[in-house]
């Protein structure tokens, strides 16, 4: 045994060095690679939860209709039935969370309606369009049309 060790000493030293390097590699790898890396694929699985945890600004129309069912009922029968509330009113998740301290502001029909309904040859033919200056001049749309039930 003793002679064997003496004669194969260079191999033992090499094997020890190899083992040490392997341990070093494993330690560095453990420190550098995030724990969830590779769980689902070649990426950090924890980032899925991080991305999914971002807060939302738009509450979604179900949240609006939970309280404002009078408007929802009126809108359901009218031309704007398919519109989400936040298409015109803007992002209102904060208002849905805490209605008392985050008031929603009423959009101005003078600028709101023409965003969609100003005539343009690129808009589809079925879509109701007006040349606003010829339609009623400076009279705001809201004085004749109720945006929730636009038919006069």
């Amino acid at each position: 045994m003793k002679t064997l060790l003496r004669e194969a000493g260079h191999l033992v030293r090499l094997a020890t060095l190899g083992a040490l390097l392997l341990i070093l590699f494993l330690l560095v790898r453990r420190a550098v690679v995030p724990p969830s890396f590779g769980k689902y694929g070649h990426y950090r699985a924890a980032s899925l939860e991080e991305i999914a945890a971002r807060p939302a600004s738009f509450a979604g129309r179900e949240a609006c209709e939970a309280c404002h069912d009078d408007i929802a009922t009126m809108k359901r029968e009218a031309r704007h039935a398919r519109l989400g509330c936040e298409a015109c009113h803007g992002a209102l998740a904060a208002h849905a969370e805490d209605p008392s301290s985050n008031k929603a502001t009423k959009p101005d029909t003078a600028t709101l309606c023409v965003r969609c309904h100003e005539a343009d040859s690129a808009k589809p033919k079925w879509f109701p369009q007006v040349v606003s200056s010829e339609h009623m001049g400076d009279v705001p749309c809201g004085s004749c049309h109720n945006p929730h039930k636009p038919k006069v």
Binding site: R44, A56, F58, R61, G84, E86, E118, S121, A122
Partner: protein, 257 residues
């Protein structure tokens, strides 16, 4: 599973218990228990990635170029000014030169479009966003695994892992990526992953007044997307790139690039 009382364990209970144990996986056993006892499992309404395969349909014939989607996306995702995760293009195809349409997208359509009346040719709006490709060049080009396809088919960017090397920005044939000016990491449409995993639709779909954009779960047999794909001819952008995009356009003009 309710353990049978130890002193009157009969052969029937024992065999049924063993049968469930051997045949059913953990999840299936919970589902069977829920179905037979009527008590839903504790995580019944938890989001399950395996039941979703996200896509989007865009009906070009419904887009009115209002820019609501661009504004909603910017607001929802904090997109820096001058950068876009989604944008709208206005096309004008001249009858005499079908190969070279005039394309404009002032500020990505964020402020809407200046009204125009063309007497001839064809004009239309095309909303664009990340196509969440099945074979994404961006995912393949990322050297560190910071951009990836989630198990439910959404191409996402891991901000904490991205080096900002911009390979993916060059790789995307649709120009859907940009380097975030302050974070210095790649950024793009996440298909509102934080919303769709909570049962909401994307911000752009929520804000679209005509329903031109529809979020679709291809794994849900009850999703209207299946009827939409059956009854319409749909195109994807740049099919020759073999990226297998999951944003399906209806009534897309051949001039769109």
């Amino acid at each position: 599973m309710k353990p049978p009382p130890s002193n009157d364990l009969n052969r029937r209970d024992l065999l049924a218990g063993f049968g469930k144990f051997i045949i059913l996986s953990g999840a299936a056993r919970v589902a069977l228990e829920a179905a037979t006892t009527g008590v839903p499992p504790p995580d019944a309404d938890k989001y399950k990635a395996a039941q979703h395969w996200w896509a989007m349909t865009i009906d070009v014939g419904r887009c009115i170029g209002c820019g609501n989607c661009v504004r909603a996306c910017t607001k929802e995702n904090g997109v820096p000014a001058g950068y876009f995760r989604t944008w709208v293009e206005r096309y004008h195809v001249n009858d005499a030169d079908l190969e070279h349409p005039v394309v404009e997208s002032p500020n990505g359509g964020f402020d809407g479009f200046k009204p125009k009346q063309e007497s001839a040719g064809k004009s239309f709006f095309v909303p664009k966003l990340c196509n969440h490709c099945v074979d994404s060049p961006c995912v393949q080009s990322c050297p560190v695994g910071a951009t990836f396809e989630s198990p439910d088919g959404v191409v996402l960017v891991d901000e904490k892992y991205c080096l900002g090397c911009r390979y993916c920005i060059q790789a995307c044939p649709y120009g859907c990526r940009y380097l975030h000016p302050t974070k210095k990491t790649a950024d793009k449409c996440s298909l509102c992953y934080h919303r769709i995993t909570k049962g909401l639709t994307t911000a752009c779909c929520e804000a679209c007044p005509t329903g031109a954009r529809q979020l679709a779960n291809l794994k849900n047999p009850a999703d209207p997307v299946h009827e939409f794909l059956r009854s319409n001819t749909v195109q994807v952008l740049k099919p020759h790139m073999a990226t297998r995009p999951k944003v399906f356009y209806k009534d897309l003009d051949g001039a769109v690039r």
